[in-house]
Symmetry: C2
Subunit: 265 residues, 2 copies
């Protein structure tokens, strides 16, 4: 295990059959306070990785039931099925006896994925990162510690960063770990949730994720990830948020979709 | 309960605390054989509806672990959290002691959804159903009993129906229950999976769903549903499939996304 905060903070320790312990840290706090959902999802996936014989996370759905707190957590895993190509398990993350987060994830071995490839969409069309602006440089966002973990580069500052929400809910930007750790399959469940919500440009102060589903599509190349983030439908306060992550070789590596509830202004 | 096949075939009977029985029928067989995934998801949601105090399914993720068979099934439910606005549970559907299907679903009460509405996309632009063609009229698809349950109307027959797959994986069409039962919240988890896969137009003979996540967005109005179905990325045989369902009033009522694996030709 590397000393990188992501690897340290998603480490799990076996504590009996199908039981692990971990520590939720304060280094991944999102807008609105509290640990980022993608961080908690990645932690759950790490626990499942201990009991599943396939190496690569493929698809995971995480339900956010209660706000998780900084401190000790227990993870209870259940193997649902181990098949020829895919294995699936469920895990609940509890604190003080209450389930805060629940994840179901399927794993596979991408080296055996021999089917065809056909793409009907392009990666984000972004200028090189060095020609882009730092999204959060100079931003006054106290307590949003996740901003210390990632770098974001945007072609131009979005409306919400200039105090003038644009009224549309989509963005394209560059993303990477600030300390140079490369993205990998383990980090993708966090990385799909590491960008500021697109609904900030609707003037919403934030959003609470109810459920986050991530499809892992390929092993990312080293370097920056290009993010495409979009909300198309806000209905009665509920909204989806779609995220695509593309690697430096122009390959789609993950798709995330969450259902969330707008915070009140 | 109505005598409609959907209501009959998704009925569950309590058999102890957190335990229900049901019968998987042969009326929802999909391309490739075996019960349609959306049907099984809807059945799982029905079981969870028995133990959850909120009336409306909101978001559900279903993992397909083994092929389900026609016949008796046991459903074991677990309430994960009942909160102020949302309650969440997990359910496994087993046959002969093996878990075939696993669903996690959250419920809410849409009458209390008081947040804002903002849409950044349009419903499918389809001619009226009566000016469209019957997608499956005259099709030779023996055993695909789900076609007896639904009507489909398309502006023109897609390439795969003419034996000339178009090479793109998207379609828009009309959908309704053949016997006139209106769509409702209970049926939406099936309806998002009731359309022929868009990848048929890539020349694939079919596709196996690994995981299906559905967001329920609104209570559908009576009448036809307009379907938008699309696959953007096939990578090593794995592909997502996105489905939107819009009601007769032009409102988005559900979004489905599945991760699936192309069948070999």
């Amino acid at each position: 295990m590397s000393g990188h905060p992501f690897d340290v903070d998603t480490a799990v320790v076996a504590d009996g059959p199908d039981r692990f312990t971990a520590t939720v840290t304060d280094r991944w706090h999102a807008l609105g306070g509290g640990p980022n959902g993608g961080y908690l999802a990645a932690l759950c996936v790490q626990a499942l990785a201990q009991i599943i014989d396939f190496p690569d996370p493929l698809v995971m759905s995480t339900s956010f039931l209660r706000r998780a707190r900084v401190g000790a957590a227990e993870l209870h895993t259940q193997l649902l099925r181990s098949g020829r190509r895919i294995a699936t398990g469920a895990v609940s993350l509890s604190q003080d006896g209450d389930i805060a987060v629940h994840t179901v994830a399927s794993f596979t071995d991408f080296t055996t994925a021999s089917g065809r490839t056909a793409l009907f969409n392009e990666p984000p069309d972004l200028p090189p990162p060095e020609q882009c602006e730092d999204l959060v440089g100079g931003a006054d966002l106290p307590g949003v510690s996740i901003l210390d973990q990632f770098e974001y580069r945007v072609p131009e500052l979005p409306g919400w960063r200039r105090g003038e929400p644009s009224g549309t809910a989509s963005a394209e930007l560059w993303l990477r770990f600030r300390d140079g750790r490369d993205a990998d399959l383990a980090a993708l469940p966090l990385l799909v949730d590491a960008t500021a919500p697109a609904v900030l440009d609707l003037g919403a102060p934030g959003s609470s994720t109810i459920q986050l589903t991530t499809h892992i599509r390929a092993r990312p190349a080293p370097g920056w990830l290009a993010v495409r983030i979009m909300t198309r439908y806000v209905i009665g306060g509920f909204h989806e948020e779609d995220v695509e992550l593309w690697d430096d070789d122009g390959r789609l590596v993950a798709q995330g979709r969450q259902l969330a509830l707008l915070a009140h202004g």
